[in-house]
């Protein structure tokens, strides 16, 4: 029954966005995300941007930075470890992107923030949705690659 059901076309783009939220740790690329949305990569990036206001690789990067910020607040793992844990491979560009987004180095960010969970029992899905920062111009964007 489900297979015969008409689904709004944008619903397939949401599946790709959900995939970013679930698998940001992995080496996701635009082709993988496009497959989840049943679209060609070029068409997919355009449609994603139209639906969600930013291209998919940028959504992925800001998700990774948000997860990194959460790990900085809630764990004592090193900056290099956290960089790898969120699916990024260059500590240098991670630190640069993080600084552009959060206005300080990862280490300074860690020192400045107590864990949110100390203040309220907010579900993690809500924290993730609200804590992701809008992007500035990232060096990573220019390649047009998602990872």
């Amino acid at each position: 029954m489900a297979s015969a059901t008409p689904v709004h076309p944008v619903r397939h783009l949401l599946r790709a966005k959900d995939l970013v939220d679930a698998r940001y740790r992995e080496a996701l690329d635009v082709a993988t995300l496009a497959r989840a949305a049943h679209l060609s990569p070029a068409h997919f990036s355009r449609e994603f941007r139209q639906a969600f206001g930013e291209p998919p690789h940028q959504y992925l990067l800001t998700r990774r930075l948000e997860r990194a910020a959460a790990l900085l607040r809630s764990t004592d793992r090193s900056v290099a470890d956290i960089c790898l844990l969120v699916g990024l491979h260059s500590v240098g560009s991670f630190t640069t992107s993080f600084g552009k987004t959060y206005g300080m180095t990862p280490t300074a960010y860690r020192a400045a923030h107590a864990p949110a969970i100390a203040r309220a029992r907010v579900p993690t899905c809500v924290l993730q949705a609200y804590a992701r920062q809008p992007s500035s111009t990232f060096g990573e964007d220019t390649r047009g690659q998602a990872s």
Binding site: M1, A2, T5, P6, V7, H8, P9, V10, R11, L13, L14, R15, K17, D18, D21, A22, A51, F52, I117, R121, P123, T124, C125
Partner: protein, 138 residues
């Protein structure tokens, strides 16, 4: 004073599909399914969690004219598909078991069971784009 929450509403893309999803896949029970010819075949469709008779979920089709003009309807449907609707939070005694069972039935999970400061939870969506949490709180 307000006494009790009795119904909460979710927009759905297709009521027949939604009824099958919420009952056959999620295991909710059908509460009301009434079509009213004199109201343009408006269909009041509600389901609920077995054992929780005092809270129902109304599965509403997005209406066109005269309730909403076609543009408005299309906008609501698009927002729904983008995941911009609110969510429903369910609890369970065994989130990992429930996850396996629901996944087996074809439920689209957005998050596998994950340890959280408040317990273990998972996330899933319906075909319309509505978002649900399934939590086993500690």
């Amino acid at each position: 004073m307000l006494k009790q929450l009795t119904h909460t509403q979710v927009w759905v893309h297709d009521q027949d599909e939604a009824l099958a999803f919420y009952t056959e896949k999620l295991g909710l029970e059908l509460r009301e399914d009434v079509t009213v010819p004199e109201m343009g075949n408006f269909r009041w469709l509600s389901v609920g969690v077995p054992g929780q008779p005092d809270v129902s979920i109304t599965l509403m089709a997005v209406p066109g004219p005269p309730v909403f003009d076609e543009d408005t309807r299309a906008q609501i449907q698009a927002l729904l598909a983008k995941g911009a609707s609110g969510g429903l939070f369910f609890s369970t005694d065994d989130v990992r078991g429930s996850y396996e069972e629901l996944k087996e039935r074809g439920v689209e999970f957005t998050q596998e069971p994950t340890e959280q400061p408040y317990g273990v939870d998972a996330g899933f969506r319906d075909a319309s784009g509505n978002h649900f949490r399934l939590a086993q709180t500690s």
